[in-house]
């Protein structure tokens, strides 16, 4: 589920959003301390940060709801100095959704389509097509008030696409959805980014979700950016700088645990081999199985991306000793660990 690592895209080409030194003050408090970043077309950027990090302020500035006190941004060539023009280039799914419940799904899309200057007929055609794209075509004549949360989220995405935007802002799009609904919506977001070549900014507190769908990630804390880059870059960079705990877990039959420990301890670069959890030891009928955690000697050098052959050597040692390998799991840092580490570090 977390294996996705998109290659970094061309940073200077095809930029649909460039923000430079955005600042915002609320009285004496500086909520945004010089936010700068760019977003390429067809890529999904995860916009992360704990509560109070300045995420909402940043998004409200980028969607022209708030004016920055300093700095500016450009969306597809339109400067933030022309907010009305700029709004034609962006689509937004606010966290609150905010639908008029007395409208049907189609009426809602037609209304917004017309606000963007489409004729009634054009807006209707667009609305119907978008409803089909988000799989709400069979409920196009139902009142929005009768829609489930997931349906309203999908309608919200359709509404955000009604003007064919260059940048799509999605604020907690999977909030309140069941796992199936979450997966479908994330697939839809990914598809929109790729097929429409839209730059997507995804705000979410669900870090596995961000890791699964985003190409890039930007982590904010206390009004400033604490990490930015591709998901793999951010995880890798952070791990090298501070994080611990890279190794592998191997499951072997219970009677072979002791022997396996001995063999693995002798492999080059292996620092420590320890049983990994008592509960695992009783599992795996008919004879039971046990997990062993293999910790490498120098975690600042050895990791799965840079030295994958080390894992092969570990497994090869067990194969040569004819110890059955019942399970294998490569430990690696996750975005969640990075997020917690960076935000805690900033607090400290």
């Amino acid at each position: 589920m977390f294996e996705k690592n998109h290659p970094p895209g061309p940073r200077s080409e095809n930029e649909v959003l460039v923000a430079k030194d955005l600042r915002k003050f609320y009285g004496q408090r500086e909520a945004l301390k010089g936010l700068s970043f760019s977003l390429n077309a067809g890529r999904v950027l995860g916009f992360l940060g704990p509560n109070g990090a300045g995420k909402t302020t940043a998004i409200r500035i980028l969607t022209t709801i708030l004016e920055p006190d300093a700095g500016h941004f450009v969306v597809n060539g339109i400067s933030s100095e022309h907010p009305e023009e700029l709004r034609r280039k962006i689509g937004v799914l606010p966290e609150s959704l905010g639908f008029h419940k007395q409208m049907t799904g189609l009426e809602c899309l037609v209304f917004f389509g017309r606000l963007y200057g489409r004729s009634a007929a054009q807006a209707r055609v667009t609305g119907l097509a978008l409803l089909e794209e988000v799989a709400l075509d069979r409920r196009s004549k139902s009142l929005v008030g009768t829609y489930s949360r997931g349906m309203r989220q999908r309608l919200g995405i359709a509404r955000a696409l009604v003007n064919d935007p260059s940048v799509l802002f999605l604020d907690e799009p999977t909030l309140g959805l069941d796992p199936r609904g979450q997966k479908e919506l994330l697939d839809l977001i990914e598809r929109i980014a790729r097929e429409r070549n839209v730059g997507v900014i995804l705000c979410s507190h669900d870090l596995p979700e961000v890791e699964s769908v985003c190409d890039d990630v930007l982590i904010m804390n206390l009004g400033q950016v604490v990490a930015a880059g591709t998901v793999a870059e951010v995880i890798g960079r952070t791990r090298r700088s501070a994080m611990q705990g890279n190794g592998i877990r191997i499951q072997v039959p219970l009677p072979a645990v002791a022997e396996a420990r001995q063999i693995l301890a002798a492999v080059t670069n292996v620092m420590n081999v320890t049983p990994a959890g008592d509960d695992a030891a009783t599992q795996g009928p008919p004879f039971g199985a046990g997990w062993l955690r293999v910790e490498f000697a120098d975690s600042t050098i050895v990791n799965l991306t840079e030295n994958p052959y080390l894992n092969n050597r570990v497994l090869d040692a067990l194969i040569r000793a004819e110890i059955p390998i019942l399970g294998f799991e490569a430990e690696r840092s996750r975005l969640q660990d990075v997020f917690l580490h960076l935000t805690e570090e900033a607090l400290a």
Binding site: F99, Q102, T104, R118, R139, S142, L188
Partner: protein, 491 residues
């Protein structure tokens, strides 16, 4: 339904990022949507239904009083029109106060602000939708005015004047409500503020009559748009005064409306924001100071004006020299007793004769009605008779004067009706002897009429027609939408 889990893989081909202009102004789109929300959402129909029920009750009570000859048609029409405008303004204010802060609360404002539409046009569209209940309220009122006018020409005057003044004030109060909701983050705040402003305007019209006269009272009445409107209507409709005499009372409603429109569309409209914003401490303090000052002023006004009026009435009396002159006058009455039904009337005659050798001074004849039941209500003869007093300039020796009196039987019970003759005293330090007639023992039996003035069908029919109209609208809407589908996914 199966469609909910099968997201389509074909993206919609749109016409790119080019700007498209359909020619339909934004305000019109917002207006149509708001209208739909207001009427199909049920808020406007419910408020108007309550309005029609209240109007029905008021009309019925008035018609009952009219049957008892308590209120002439002109006054009934005026009172109804006044109430219609007051309630109409209240409805306008409530709807206006919900326009922006309500959207903030329901989180629907953000999506609107994210579109490339002019803020002023959004406000204008909302404003137009918010004033839509007033014409309907006026239309509901017209049949009631018609039935209450009882064929009097006042109806032909009341409708255009009511429409004109209501149409000037109602949008202004809607605008006032929208302004209140402009800077409020919650509906509670904007409704409370709107209601406060409404009461502030309404308060002077509820002051005692004495407080509404005099320089200060008159100025207050002329400045306050509601009081000025009421005063103008009362003079034109009830007192049959010429419009030209009272046109200055139309200035304040017009100025008030102009001020609200300028504030709404020129000052506030373009700066419509997602957040209502917080006022600075300075402005909060200024607001509180103004609020407390206004309340204090009204309290002082309320407490002092009637007292001042009383002081004016109670002139210090010099002890008068008691020179009572016996006048050789006589009064006879042509009725001894009568039993009538409530709502009926009696007419009797009095004859005053001067039996003396000299001409009498000026004579005042006053009719009085006494409730013989000690526990009963005290009678105000002015409510019972159009001729409370009549005058005789002088009676020559041997001359007689006959007067006719009408008494309306307002309440059931046992009464004594009599007339007194009061000779004019010879000066400020003299008095005179009052002469009373024999009494008429008036017995009034109770009478109830279910349909006074034929008003009952209107009182009941108005709300019923409105309910039918609402049902018709809903059915019309249901045909256009799919009502069958509940939610197909878990929340």
């Amino acid at each position: 339904m199966s469609n909910t889990h099968n997201l389509n893989n074909n993206p919609v081909e749109l016409s790119g990022n080019t700007r498209m202009d359909s020619g339909t102004p934004t305000w019109w789109l917002v207006f149509v949507r708001e209208l739909n929300e207001l009427w199909m959402g049920g808020k406007a129909p419910v408020l108007l239904l309550i309005y029609s029920v209240l109007l029905g009750i008021m009309t019925y009570v008035m018609a009952s009083n009219s049957e008892l000859s308590l209120i002439p048609p002109q006054e009934m029409v005026y009172e109804t029109l006044k109430a219609a405008i007051a309630v109409g303004l209240f409805i306008s204010m409530i709807i206006g106060a919900d326009a922006i802060s309500g959207e903030r609360e329901r989180s629907t404002l953000e999506s609107l602000l994210l579109t490339p539409t002019s803020r002023r046009q959004i406000v204008f569209g909302k404003f137009l939708a918010a004033i839509s209940p007033w014409p309907v309220a006026l239309a509901i009122t017209i049949p009631y005015l018609k039935v209450l006018s009882q064929g009097d020409a006042v109806f032909a005057q009341a409708v255009p004047w009511g429409a004109l003044l209501g149409t000037a004030l109602s949008p202004a109060f809607t605008g006032m409500g929208i302004l209140a909701s402009f800077w409020s983050n919650s509906n509670k705040t904007s409704l409370f503020t709107g209601l406060g402003i409404y009461i502030l305007f309404l308060l002077p019209t509820q002051l005692p009559g004495s407080a509404q006269t005099g320089t200060m009272g008159s100025l207050l009445q002329q400045v306050n748009p509601i009081a000025a409107t009421n005063h103008f209507l009362s003079k034109v409709l009830v007192n049959n005064r010429h419009v030209g005499e009272f046109w200055p009372f139309l200035i304040s409603p017009a100025l008030f409306a102009a001020l609200v429109y300028v504030l709404l569309f020129w000052y506030a409209g373009p700066s419509l924001r997602l957040e209502g914003g917080k006022a600075s401490k300075f402005w909060v303090s200024v607001g509180r100071l103004i609020g407390f000052s206004v309340i204090a002023c009204f309290m002082i006004l309320l407490s002092t004006t009637p007292a001042m009026a009383l002081q004016q009435e109670e002139q210090p009396q010099e002890p008068a020299a008691m020179s009572i002159e016996q006048m050789p006058l006589q009064i006879t009455i042509d009725m001894a007793y009568k039993t009538v039904q409530q709502g009926d009337h009696i007419i009797y005659k009095t004859v005053v004769t001067n039996n003396g050798a000299a001409a009498s001074p000026g004579l005042c004849l006053a009719m009085n009605i006494i409730n013989l039941d000690a526990a009963g209500d005290i009678v105000d003869p002015e409510d019972w008779s159009p001729q409370r007093t009549q005058y005789i300039v002088s009676l020559a020796p041997g001359e007689s004067a006959t007067h006719t009196w009408r008494v309306n039987a307002i309440l059931d019970g046992d009464y004594l009706v009599y007339t007194v003759v009061i000779p004019e005293p010879n000066g400020r330090d003299a008095t005179s002897q009052v002469l009373a007639s024999s009494g008429i023992h008036l017995t009034v039996t109770p009478f109830t009429k279910l349909n006074p003035g034929g008003v009952l069908p209107y009182a009941i029919g108005g709300p019923v027609v409105l309910v039918l109209g609402i049902i018709f609208l809903y059915r019309l809407r249901r045909r256009k939408i799919d009502m069958g589908g509940g939610t197909t996914e878990s929340e």
